[in-house]
Symmetry: C2
């Protein structure tokens, strides 16, 4: 991927869940070639400073303004990377960028001709699933539990229908200080729809030094097990546990941080694990 | 990540959709350190041969036998990488590995103490979504349309409930020579549930030289638009198009292969793009 120094471009990229080892070479090349990095401040700070790179960090409710800024800079010849955590297409900056582009149809119609690319990243959902085993190994759904941009009634409706479809489920933004009660209601809906024995998993700060994983049941789950850094997964009716031996029984030595967490997986077939 | 030459391990990894630039450094390091690579032959062949690496390619219906072989090699001190395309946790080898591990509980109970890790990859769903814009920018579901391992009635039920929940949808394995009729039935169910104007996208061989993308409506979609190398996406009721100018209007020059395809995105809010 070569730079065209006289032509601006905009790439909306995913930095993955946090570890350098999960950033794709495609994204690393875009960052190395950029003149400007734009995004939510903690994500912008994950990009190391260097001469010739301007870092533009902003607050987390500023998505549309941030997208407009990025488009404007690209239109004037800058090579702009908009960073998201995880994957940019999953509850992140790619949708915000296209919302801004569409809203600017009248004011800046020529911006639709800009060289725009979306570069995928390892989403929190996939990273959490990998650390736990394979809980998303069969049909699943992915729901943003924040009601900032949609009515709570729609979230509840989707939870009930997802349970009826027997999907495994991944939940983003389960709980924040501004919305402490939503996740409690979500747990109530899920308990009613899936029963108290259904498996639920909490994956916090995945791939970071402070990572924590836990597996329990809907009957045992408490709302305070989740915060905004937690990806929550709920199994389907088929999802199963495999206990892992404790340290002294292990033959290998790596990956010691999650040994007490059982493996969780959803079989590929609906009738069980004996396919 | 250092090798322990006297201790075997097993890593189930995702190679992403096909391009080298989408393989994470974590997966590259595992491959560099491996003594054995195990998987479906076309995926094993994506790993370059080198001295000290044995490549074990097998047929695509051999998942459980392949998983047992990999576990056995790791138990005898080999450093084994099991490769999947995309992400290993999404309709791929991670679930098969845990199915095998669980089934071997009586015969090989100590294998549960093996050093096993799952390393995430860029899934076909995320790569296809990035190439098209942000069609999965809001709540979505992901369904394997193959009825090899589940009854067709369950697939149809999940399609209807997903439509009722107004999820965007990603479909794996939409159509094969052995099952030419299933996708046609899926399209009928979706037309009935979502109406003929709903957007549908076909992303074939994403990130490969032969990549092709197309965007149409359920009313216009034909079953033969999909094959086993196609990831199919269906929008929610909110999913929108942004036309892209043709080549002569463009200021930038990269990414020329998909310029005639409009951007497709699902806004972050249910009420439209003006958040």
């Amino acid at each position: 991927m070569t730079a065209k120094s006289n032509a601006g471009w905009l790439k909306v990229v995913g930095l993955g869940p946090g570890a350098e080892a999960l950033i794709t070479p495609e994204v690393s090349a875009a960052l190395a070639d950029a003149t400007d990095v734009v995004g939510y401040l903690p994500y912008v700070e994950r990009v190391a400073p260097r001469p010739g790179l301007v870092r533009h960090g902003s607050d987390n409710r500023e998505e549309i303004r941030r997208a407009e800024t990025a488009l404007g800079m690209a239109a004037y010849g800058r090579r702009v990377v908009v960073v998201s955590s995880g994957d940019p297409g999953v509850f992140a900056m790619a949708a915000a960028l296209f919302e801004a582009l569409e809203a600017l149809e009248v004011a800046e119609p020529e911006w639709r001709g800009l060289d725009i690319q979306v570069l995928p990243g390892i989403s929190a959902m996939l990273a959490a699933s990998a650390r736990l085993g394979a809980p998303l190994g069969h049909d699943f759904c992915c729901i943003n539990l924040s009601d900032n941009l949609k009515p709570w009634s729609l979230i509840e409706r989707r939870l009930r229908l997802a349970a009826e479809a027997d999907f495994a489920m991944a939940f983003y933004n389960p709980r924040s200080k501004a919305r402490p009660e939503g996740f409690e209601r979500a747990l109530e809906v899920l308990r009613e729809a899936c029963g108290p024995e259904r498996l639920i998993m909490f994956a916090r700060a995945v791939y970071m030094p402070e990572e924590s994983l836990s597996v329990t049941t809907l009957g045992q789950a408490q709302p305070e097990m989740a915060d905004m850094r937690t990806l929550v997964l709920v199994g389907s009716s088929q999802t199963r546990l495999i206990p892992r031996p404790v340290e002294s029984d292990k033959e290998g030595g790596e990956g010691a941080e999650s040994e007490s967490t059982p493996w969780v997986y959803t079989p590929r077939s609906v009738s069980g694990a004996d396919a």
